[in-house]
Each structure stands twice: as C-alpha cells, then as structure tokens.
C-alpha cells in the first residue's frame, strides 16, 4: 500500500515539475536599461572592390594582380553599439541580435535600427555570430539554417562567405569558395569592428528618424593585411582553422564609413 501512496505522490510531483517548465523565455530586450524613446536610423552596407561598386560576375584584380569574379558576398554583423566619445555615452543598439548582410539583396544590406536621440561619433559592431548561437540548437530569422550559412557536419555558422571564380584557382570550374567560420577558442573568426565617423560627420539621431550611415565593405581586403592570401595557393576555405582566422583578420579591416546623412 505504501508503494501505491508514494507512486501517487511521485505522479503528483511529476506533474508539478512539468508545470514549472512553462516559464517562457521572455524576449531578452535589447538596448539600454534607460527607457528613453528610440527612433529609427539605417546602417547601409555597400559592397566594394577597391573604389568600384561590387558587381557580380565582373572581373576584378586583387592586390597580387590575380583576376577573379565574385558571385556571393555575405556576412553576419551584430552587437551594434553607438558611442559618443566626448561624453562617453554608449548605447547598445542590437545586443545579441545578428543580421545577415547580403550584397545580392538590397533589403539585406540596409539594416533598420533604433536608438535614442543623441549624437554619436563611433559605431562598434561584431562581425560574426556570437558563440552562444553556435551551440544553442535551432535558431530563426537571419540565423535560420535555410539561409545556407550553417555547417551541418561540424556545427557552427559560416560567419562570412565569398564565392566566385578565378583562372588561378585549382578547384573544379575555377571556383573560389571562402566559407569562413569557427567560434571555439583558438579558431574563432568573430571579430570586433570599431568605426570612427569622419571628422564633423556625427550621427545625429532625431525624432525624425531618418539618419543613415553608409558603410563600405571592400572585398579586396580579404586577400591581404596582415595575411597574404593568394588565389593561386588558396582558393578554398571550408573549415574552421588557421586559414579561416587569417582571412578573418584581413576582412575585419574591410569596413570604412562612406557617408552619414541626418
């Protein structure tokens, strides 16, 4: 009889615990703790090759004089932060939110964000996807694996992808395939980018909500400084490791502020 009673208690306890699972992971709100009203502004990313606007399938030359074309140019950015270096005021615009910037898609090259009224002269962001999302299972939105930026056999995001062709490539069909990923210690390609806006061109967020910062992303920077990447030697990168971190060191320097309009 005792066994029955404890079984019943156990059953009751079981249901009790199952109910505790209901706690919903409430939207971890991004932004500052101060509850100021926020207004829209746009971060616009423009693909470039040196000074030219990036056009797919057009022939370019890298710093070693190797000719190549680009067919895909995508990368994740996130953890966007605005800073006023005089007042020291920092605003976290997109804490732990990540966006896929895709040069083939203008909607995915213009990121609409919100920040409180103020002037800011530095923009910081992360290039890559925070390691937590690389280990936490199925994600949605820009992190949805349907975006084709996810390694299925060695879990993790492809943080940046450049594909194209080059006569110097030893791959079939003269392809170039740079799929850059890796989040574990020692092989992380996650890089922080700090951009100081040009002298006198601060970002002034107002209630109008129509400020825009245009940032150039130069594909040619993937090939040099500090590491030389020659297509003739290296036309493919598909795994985390030294090659991936080297290319990441290079491409972390590809951004420059082109314009600020308020």
């Amino acid at each position: 009889m005792k066994i029955f009673i404890s079984a019943a208690i156990a059953t009751a306890a079981l249901f009790f615990t199952s109910c505790q699972r209901e706690v919903k992971s409430s939207d971890a709100s991004s932004g500052d703790s101060t509850q100021l009203p926020t207004y829209k502004f746009v971060l616009s990313f423009k693909g470039k090759v040196d000074n030219a606007d990036l056009a797919f399938n057009q022939t370019y030359q890298n710093t070693f004089g190797e000719s190549y074309t680009i067919t895909t140019f995508k990368y994740y950015i996130g953890d966007i932060q605005l800073l006023n270096s005089t007042s020291g005021k920092v605003y976290n615009v997109s804490d732990k939110t990540f966006y896929l910037v895709d040069a083939s898609d203008s909607a995915a090259s213009n990121i609409t964000l919100k920040a409180p009224v103020g002037t800011y002269d530095v923009i910081n962001f992360t290039m890559g996807v925070d390691s937590i999302y690389n280990v936490s299972g199925a994600q949605s939105g820009d992190l949805d694996p349907v975006k084709g930026m996810f390694w299925t056999w060695n879990t993790g995001y492809i943080m940046a992808k450049m594909e194209g062709t080059s006569p110097l490539s030893h791959l079939p069909d003269s392809r170039i395939q740079f799929h850059i990923g890796g989040f574990k210690t020692g092989e992380s390609v996650i890089r922080s980018v700090n951009l100081t806006l040009p002298e006198g061109r601060t970002l002034a967020i107002s209630s109008q909500g129509d400020s825009k910062v245009t940032i150039n992303a130069d594909a040619n920077k993937w090939f040099y400084n500090p590491h030389d990447i020659r297509i003739a030697d290296t036309a493919v990168c598909m795994t985390p490791g030294i090659l991936a971190t080297s290319i990441a060191d290079n491409y972390a320097k590809m951004f420059t502020v082109f314009s600020v309009t308020n």
Partner: protein, 348 residues
Amino acid sequence: MRLIAVILIFILTGIATTWVISCKKTGEGGSQTTALQVQIPAGFPAPKYNFTNNPITKEGFELGRRLFYDGKLSKDGNFPCASCHQQFAAFSTFDHDLSHGFNNQFTTRNAPGLFNMIWLDQFLWDGGVNNLEVQPLAPITAPNEMAEDIGNVVKKLQADAAYPSMFKAAFGSDQVTSQNMLKALTQFVAMMVSANSKYDKVKRGEAQFNVSEQAGYESFKQKCAACHQEPLFTDLSYRNDGFSINTSLHDVGRMRITGKSEDSLKFKVPSLRNVALTEPYTHDGRILSIGQMIDHYTTGIINSPTLDPLLKNGIQIGYAEKYNLIDFLKTLSDSSFIADTRFSQPQQ
C-alpha cells in the same frame, strides 16, 4: 489503515489530475498544448539537453513523430529518418554496415541506435554536431554544407494538407519554420529513453542475472567499463579502439572536427545498451557480431600512435569468459523500448 490509504490515493490522484488540466497551456496562437515529461531513470545523470526553450508537448511530440517517419524530409521522398533508424533495431540500421541514403549521401558511417540522446551534447561518431536540435540538418542536407535544401523541406511541409495545422497545434503558428520542425523532431527523439532492459531490472531488484550473465557482468566491470561506463554504457569520450584506417573511406574520426593529429582515428565510445540489436558494429560497420568484437579486443588491436593506452596490450579474455560477456551484453536489450508504440510509425 487500509481505508485511509485508499482515500489518500484518491486525493493524490485528484491533485495529479488537476495538474494535468492546469498544464494545458495557451500557446501564442491561442492553441492548447499538453505538457509531456521525459522520465529520468533512477541512477541516470541530469540530461544535457536543455528543455527550457523546447518543452515537450504531446502536440510537438506527435508532430516530430510524423516527421521522423515522413519521406518528405528527403530529396526524393524515399529516405525518412526511419529508413536508417529502425525501431526494431533500437533505431539503428539493421544489418547494414553503412546506411543507404539519397544519392549515396551520408553512407560513410554506420548508423548508431537512437536512445538516451538527451544525455549527449555531442553527436555523430566524431562529435561534430553540438546540439540535438541541429542534428537532423546533417542527414537532411548531406554531410557537407547544402543547408539551402532545408528551405525546400520547409516549403514541402507548408504545402502539405496536414502539417500546417499540426505546427499550429504544437507551436501556435501554422507557418512552418525550420526551427519548429527541428524542435518537433527533437521532442520525438528526446522521449526515446531506453532503461528497461534485464540489466536495469536487475539493478532495480526486479530480476536476477543467471550465472553466466553475472560472471559476464563481473568481467565487463573489470575490462570494459572504463570506456563503456554505466549507466549509459559510454563515458562519451573519443578513443582509438585499435582499428586500422578504412582505406576506402579514410575516416580519421575526431580529428576531422578538432584538426589535431592526436585525435586521429578516435571515435566516440558507443553506448552498449541494445547492442545485441544494433549489429553490425563500429563507426564503419566492419564488425559483424559481438563475438567478433570481443575477438578484436583480444587479438585484433592494431598499434598506432593514438591507440588508447588501455588497449596497448589488448584485453585478455578467456574462452568461457567471452561467452559470459556476450550473455551479459544481451541483458542490455530493452524489448519494451523497441515495442513501445509511442515511437512506432503513426497512422496517417
């Protein structure tokens, strides 16, 4: 005394029932779901899978079950999860060294059984996948990176007559997403707990080993349990088990993931639960029987720089001992698990 007990049972059952009802929660789309609970067997560690963002519900589980048996998840419709993971073989591929797949994809390794997956946080023979939720992406898309195909699967499911309402029932939205599809599959696989073998019954005091099973258990604890650790029958480490490299597949195991030469030819120590149901054995299915596997440990160990130190001199196992060991390993078969209708093909 008896009467009091009966009354108590009634009251407690009442409480339990009340909880069931109150557990019906309202989802985002106003749908009701019923919580299900994975039973953690006595003596098992805490699960590694984090249920916080994916609590199991009856609706999610049934959706996952249907997905598991549905060929729509494969390119040509012929290869549902269940084609390689068969219930009567404890969800391994029966009698095949390597499993068949679409366009010969994903046939480079032996399909392991699926059970007690929530106690793992690294999947595949090389541990390359780090979360149960994203594991299905590998077979659905082939071992390389073609995740674009997931988009097609999502479209096929959205266009199906039954799926959108099942997604709504489980997740509150009839919009099919890869995330909800993966969560549902995970709920189904997460419920697959195998801990009702004769061995478990002996541990619970409900059965007794016969003489040779008992002797086999003693040698197992001495000679095998360092790697095949109870109660999961694996310590979840990666080790070189003394096999030569497969000269056609060139599978280096764990090294593919870590890039470190010291991990060359190391594979995850597999669970030996249900081992009598999951032949053939090892990462490439080259071993055909348990007896042959034991012979490997006594006479077949191949020395190489990464060979596990425990196997440097092989393992000495006598003739009678071998058969005792086999008898013991057979007590790890969980006949109620492979007959559990919750996991069988759903009626369409």
